[in-house]
């Protein structure tokens, strides 16, 4: 039953992930990315991690991608742009990214074979609920959490300073 939902979802996500890379128009890529994130959220939900699934939708599909779309529209990027086309072919970059992708793939495959993933993992009942995630985040990982939020704040202030041409 679970697999019946998992395989279509996984296939859908993979296809859209390919679509992100292969699509000629930037807006098409962005849309594929949104679809892929929704598919991922579905897979999270299937693993009983509702909270993570919802966060995936709110933060990535909902907030970040809307801004992406906004910027793409603002710049009015079209797939037919000559500059965009010219950058498409770059042998050095192609080779480098291929190596990178192959490396990641190798690592993923070795990890899969290293662990015995056949038996269904036993998770506690409270796994993935908001309460448990909140508790872990604010007890065991409170320092990394705070550091990350300070980093984000610094980035935000930096962006505002850079964007503001004249301080009044």
């Amino acid at each position: 039953m679970e697999l019946l939902i998992f395989y279509p979802l996984a296939g859908f996500s993979l296809m859209l992930a390919l679509g992100v890379v292969m699509n000629k128009s930037p807006i098409g890529s962005a849309l594929c990315l949104i679809g892929m994130m929704l598919g991922l959220a579905g897979i999270f939900a299937l693993q009983q991690a509702h909270f993570i699934a919802i966060l995936q939708v709110i933060i990535y599909a909902g907030a970040i991608m809307v801004l992406f779309m906004f910027v793409i529209m603002l710049l009015n990027l079209k797939g037919t742009d000559t500059k965009w086309r010219a950058r498409e072919r770059n042998t050095l970059l192609t080779v480098l990214t291929t190596f990178l992708a192959l490396g990641v793939l190798y690592k993923v495959i070795t990890v899969i074979f290293e662990f015995n993933l056949d038996s269904p993992a036993k998770v506690p009942d409270t796994f993935g609920t908001a309460a448990v995630i909140g508790e872990t985040l604010f007890t065991d990982f409170v320092l990394p959490f705070e550091v990350a939020s300070i980093l984000l704040l610094a980035a935000m202030v930096g962006a505002v300073v850079l964007a503001k041409t004249k301080l009044d």
Binding site: L31, H50, V57, V66, M69, F70, M73
Partner: protein
Amino acid sequence: MITELLITLAKILFIIGVTVGFFAPILTWVERKQSAIMQDRIGANRADILGFTALGLFHAIADALKMFTKEDFIPEGANKILHTLSPIIAVIPAILTFAVVPFGGVYNLFGREVNLVISDLDVGLLFVFAIASIATYGYVIAGWSSNNNWSLLGSMRTASQMISYEVTMGLTIIGVLMVYGSMRLTEIGAIQEDFSRWGIFLQPLGFLMFLTAAIAENKRIPFDNPEAESEIVAGYFTEYSGLKFGMFFMSEFIEMVTISAIVTILFFGAWHIPFLTTATLLSWFEILGTTGANLLVMLIHVGVFFAKVIFFIWMQMTIRWTLPRFRYDQIMKLGWKILLPLSLTNVLVTGIVILMLH
């Protein structure tokens, strides 16, 4: 297993029937009538069948006929796939929200617990918020794929407006979360059996800000800048006709029902009547037996819930026909300079009060 499935199916059919089948067509009529009454006109009485006008109720049928038979026009240079897809993307989230909206409590029917919610999610409140943020895409893509400058302007306005007000909406939701200590909508509803714990008393400012942000998310007057007729023709749906236009039209009305339902659950006691607990109601109808009493109480609760929903729809209609459209910069100022600091303060004050009470 089969009974469970059937019950869930019945709930889904009920909700879709009520929102798409009942509220959406009736609200088109209500909107016409309300505007007519507020502007001292007679209004909405032209559509008739053999001379009967039925108070103009046939306008809903006329609307549907017109939308089905009109030419479906896709402008030249438009992205055909996205142009067709975007009305669907806009209308689905509007209906999807009802998956987690409880329209009644838990009742003991025929020896089985029936919970009047399709999916009792642990993160129900966040689900509503997530769906609201997905809804943006339908409108944004609609404007972009039309290959029309007015449409593009409309969708840019949609994107910026919805992002801005989502922030406020999220922060007011946090206030509600802190007060009830749960994200499960059924639990939030159940807590409000106690009249003194209705959301409106615990989060009065939160209610006002949530309603404002919700109306802004729905893009109705006074926040209808994305479609501002006098400036950008019809904004993001300028190039839409027939059924596709109808979908945008419908999603606006369904969203109005959604907003009212969420406001009712979070701030106005959900399906409860003030000072009347479920136990009291059940004891009144004790002679009918367990199932009979439960059935009657269920009907009362569902009725009360939808009565509250109708009240908030009426309120939104009144706001829509009372206020003029805000200017674009005023909307941004209201969102970022007034509502955002206020909602942050709301969260802070709520936190301090909760800390002091403990």
